[in-house]
């Protein structure tokens, strides 16, 4: 410490008697007041606006039609994410393989599904019957057919939506999984190999659990995105939340109130989704960060408590 080298000055108060006066941020106060005033203004004008029709919002918020749409939206999100994650992991492993054919095919897959708009892919699957009227299983280039079914009966709007969302998600998920796997130090695999673990075992027990730390936050983002992207499948009327909302306002012309109903539900679901993400992050953060064992609520509280604690520490340091 430098204090030991400074000669003691008897005319001045001792270092431990000095008090620290923090800088007053007047600008922050002015900005906060202005922001709150603006917020009150907007909220007030919305509350007074009769075009918003709160009674319609209230009437439809818990309507059966909305609930059935919600159920479709939810299972579509879960199924498309599951399809995307499983297929994406497969594509990622293919892309990391030393087999040039597998590498090339996985690159092609990612290139195609990332390179075309999701909306186009959804409409494509919705109208796939226009390309192949029948789905046949047989021997290619011959007339031998074991099994045949009409495309339209197989590809219902919901299945088409699932395929479109899942395949698109697989392309993005594969890049996230690949980044996660590559983020793990190669020394980890070497250590596992030196213990006699086989490649598949090494991947499952050593590499993937560590890759999860890198994979989960962006996959959480993807899940939230997916929940909202399901709204796009209303274009092929897959009876999701958004399809049903559109059906309602096509009849009663109350577009804005119905969009508020949709927004409230999407917001609520997104909020719920962040809970499992936080749990997973803690689960796979074991041994890596010091916050690994605390719950998010505790961490938040600790963050709030750390604020005054930090100033205290600063005071101490400044006083030393």
């Amino acid at each position: 410490m430098t204090t030991t080298t400074v000669p003691v000055d008897t005319d001045r108060p001792a270092p431990q008697q000095l008090t620290v006066v923090p800088l007053r941020h007047y600008g922050r106060w002015i900005a906060a007041v202005a922001a709150i005033a603006a917020l009150i203004g907007v909220a007030g004008s919305l509350a007074k606006n009769s075009n918003l029709h709160w009674e319609i919002i209230g009437h439809f918020l818990f309507a059966d039609l909305i609930f059935s749409g919600l159920v479709t939206t939810l299972w579509l999100t879960v199924a498309a994410m599951a399809l995307g994650l499983i297929l994406g992991t497969l594509v990622a492993v293919m892309r990391l393989s030393s087999n040039p054919v597998l590498y090339g095919m996985s690159s092609l897959f990612v290139w195609f599904f990332r390179g075309t708009p999701l909306l186009v892919q959804i409409i494509f699957w919705g109208y796939a019957a226009a390309l192949y009227q029948y789905v046949k299983i047989g021997i290619p280039f011959t007339s031998v057919t074991f099994f045949q079914v009409e495309t339209n009966s197989l590809l219902t709007p919901a299945i088409a939506a699932l395929l479109a969302l899942g395949l698109n998600e697989a392309a993005y998920a594969s890049e996230i999984v690949r980044a996660g796997i590559q983020s793990v130090d190669p020394g980890q695999s070497e250590a596992a190999h030196s213990l006699g673990m086989r490649p598949a075992q090494t991947m499952r027990r050593i590499v993937l659990p560590q890759a999860m730390r890198v994979i989960i936050p962006p996959m959480g983002n993807e899940t939230i995105n997916m929940l909202k992207m399901t709204a796009l499948v209303s274009i092929i009327s897959a009876h999701d939340l958004m399809s049903n909302i559109q059906d309602v306002y096509a009849q009663n012309y109350q577009v804005i109130p119905m969009l508020v109903v949709a927004s409230l539900w999407y917001l609520g679901l997104v909020t719920l989704l962040s809970i499992p993400q936080a749990w997973l992050e803690r689960r796979y953060g074991r041994g890596t960060d010091r916050g690994g064992h605390t719950s998010p609520l505790r961490r938040m509280l600790a963050g709030a408590l750390a604020q005054p604690a930090r100033t205290k520490k600063n005071t101490k340091e400044a006083g030393a």
């Binding site: 130090d185 020394g187 980890q188 070497e190 250590a191 596992a192 190999h193 030196s194 213990l195 006699g196 673990m197 086989r198 490649p199 075992q201 027990r205 050593i206 659990p209 560590q210 796979y284 074991r286 041994g287 890596t288 690994g292």
Partner: protein, 254 residues
């Protein structure tokens, strides 16, 4: 005479155009401690990694306990082994790395238990007892529940040694085990290695610790530029080297 633990004859290895090992001849008998010394880039770490097939040998013969490393001889042909077979042979060879390479998502105890439980299918409670005992032996009995990030470098390296020993190897490879440690932590790790040597473990140690090599090694091998320059009794190689290159190296590190 029994089969030597490690027998290398004309071992070659190259990375792309760069020839790293230019014909290594070396024999390590059972129960011996062999220290590999030499400037960085001399190929000593690569040779060590070849012994358990982390790097593939490109030419010559390298055998551990009579078995060719990574290959099966069929007449005049060498067939590369399947990954499963390579993994099976690695079980008997423990390795300790410069950067420890502990599994960060597992506690010290789980690190030590991982291979016995998942590779040897040892019963969990038995593996746990053995792991506790091993941690005890390296002086970390009270750190079993700690994650690697909560341990010092020296402690991590000792857990890594316990992890390798959990497979009951017949040969231990050490790749600069103390190079990444703070000077005051080196002693604890060397103590564990000294005890291991005294217990009769066959060890190949790549190291810059000349003092340790002089005291513990049965053979000191000085490598430079992919060849063995000089090898023999450490008191001779490291005190009165015959070769000019060995002398030049020792004068720099001592």
């Amino acid at each position: 005479m029994s089969v030597p633990m490690v027998h290398a004859h004309g071992v070659r290895k190259h990375f792309a155009k760069l020839e790293v090992l230019k014909g290594i001849d070396l024999t390590i008998e059972r129960g011996q401690v062999c220290c590999l010394l030499g400037p960085s880039g001399s190929g000593k770490s690569t040779f060590l990694r070849c012994i358990n097939h982390l790097d593939r040998v490109d030419g010559g013969k390298l055998a551990v306990d009579g078995d060719l490393v990574g290959y099966r001889q069929n007449g005049s042909r060498l067939h590369e082994l399947r990954e499963k077979e390579v993994a099976a042979r690695r079980r008997d060879i423990g390795m300790v790395f410069q950067r420890f390479n502990l599994f960060p998502h597992m506690t010290a105890l789980d690190n030590v238990m991982e291979a016995p439980v998942n590779v040897c299918k040892t019963d969990k409670s038995q593996a746990r007892d053995e792991a506790h005992h091993l941690l005890e032996q390296v002086g970390l009995g009270d750190r079993a529940g700690h994650y690697p990030a909560q341990l010092s470098g020296g402690q991590q390296q000792r857990v890594a040694i316990a992890r390798a020993l959990a497979m009951k190897p017949k040969l231990m490879l050490f790749d600069e085990p103390t190079s990444a440690l703070d000077p005051e932590l080196v002693g604890d790790v060397l103590d564990v290695m000294r005890r291991l040597a005294a217990d009769g473990m066959t060890m190949v140690v790549v190291t810059h610790e000349i003092g340790f090599a002089r005291e513990v090694a049965d053979t000191a091998v000085f490598m430079d530029d992919g060849v063995v320059v000089e090898s023999g009794d450490p008191r001779q190689v490291l005190v009165e080297p015959r070769q000019e290159r060995t002398r030049a190296f020792l004068s720099k590190v001592l």
